[in-house]
């Protein structure tokens, strides 16, 4: 986009409440394989949807979690992702945390086979 148009788009989108950098969103979109180009409407909708997603995830996790002291924890997120179908695409990148000693115990009980790459 020419900078003039970009300004106008930014202004219009900001005035309606987008607070994420669309250029960065576009970068992420473009890094998907086989994506050649993205029209402005698609970029806008994706950016806005991302905002909705963040709020949705945060709220679900917060409601789902301990909610102690109005704090959102990583564990709240991990639990929500496990429980809610909508968020299950995130399970790979949002593993639950485990203490070292618990992990070692787990290993003892379930020895991992040698990885056969």
């Amino acid at each position: 986009m020419s900078s003039n148009v970009e300004e106008k788009v930014n202004h219009a989108s900001n005035s309606k409440g987008i607070s994420l950098p669309m250029t960065r969103v576009k970068l992420i979109m473009k890094s998907s394989p086989d994506v050649s180009s993205i029209n402005q409407e698609a970029l806008l909708l994706t950016t806005k949807a991302t905002e909705l997603f963040v709020q949705h995830l945060a709220l679900s996790s917060f409601n789902n979690g301990s909610g102690k002291d109005q704090t959102l924890l990583y564990s709240d997120l991990a639990n929500t992702v496990e429980e809610k179908e909508t968020f299950q695409f995130l399970t790979d990148i949002l593993p639950k945390k485990i203490l070292v000693r618990d992990y070692l115990k787990l290993l003892e009980e379930n020895p991992i086979e040698e990885a056969d790459n």
Partner: protein, 208 residues
């Protein structure tokens, strides 16, 4: 499976089971719970063989602010653990990629090169985010009104990166067009499409 436990132990390991990224087995990432260490230090365990879309993140401050806006305010200040913020950063990139690849697939199926708004909306619906559809459509409408209202634009022209691969394929559906213009200098065209809304009686504008 592993359980999450609160602990006074300062260090925790993140157990990453990432079957689709690695050939198998467990991945351990060391991470300080006090949040000083970045969650995104993947180099230690070589989780990635090549550069992935998940490596690009949206700024954490923006993400954190939006998270806070989503949480009801009770009068107490909302706190979000640092690793939670970082985690949502990654989730966001994952989400964007998730939607984009679905939209891209549909685009290819219809033999188009440019992902348009309808592709995105369709992807949302397919992937279980149909609860976002109404707010998104509403938002799009308001955005167009805001763009129209911007002084000095009869329409919108685009440079490289957006819309330059707009082809006749984009017009195969019956579409009422919002704003169309051709910038004689740049020879690029931007078209707003509302293929998910049929407005009867609106004359179809064809660009050739």
């Amino acid at each position: 499976m592993e359980e999450d436990r609160s602990t006074t132990d300062a260090s925790q390991l993140t157990l990453g089971i990432s079957g689709e990224y690695m050939s198998g087995g467990y991945v351990l990432q060391s991470q300080d719970d006090d949040g000083e260490e970045s969650l995104n230090d993947h180099d230690d365990v070589g989780m990635k063989e090549n550069f992935r879309e998940q490596d690009i993140y949206l700024p954490i401050a923006n993400v954190a602010r939006i998270m806070k806006n989503g949480i009801p305010q009770t009068g107490k200040v909302t706190m979000i653990a640092k690793d939670a913020k970082e985690c949502v950063q990654e989730c966001v990139s994952e989400f964007i990629s998730f939607i984009t690849s679905e939209a891209s697939e549909r685009c290819h199926q219809e033999k188009r090169k440019t992902i348009n708004g309808e592709d995105i909306l369709f992807a949302m619906s397919t992937l279980g985010f149909d609860m976002y559809l109404e707010p998104l459509k509403l938002y799009l409408q308001k955005f167009r009104e805001a763009m129209k209202g911007e002084k000095g634009i009869p329409g919108v022209s685009v440079g490289e990166g957006l819309g330059e691969e707009l082809t006749d394929d984009s017009f195969t559906n019956q579409l009422p067009a919002g704003i169309i213009t051709a910038d004689g200098q740049q020879q690029n065209v931007m078209v707003y499409t509302t293929s998910y809304q049929q407005i009867p009686g609106v004359q179809q504008i064809q660009f050739s």
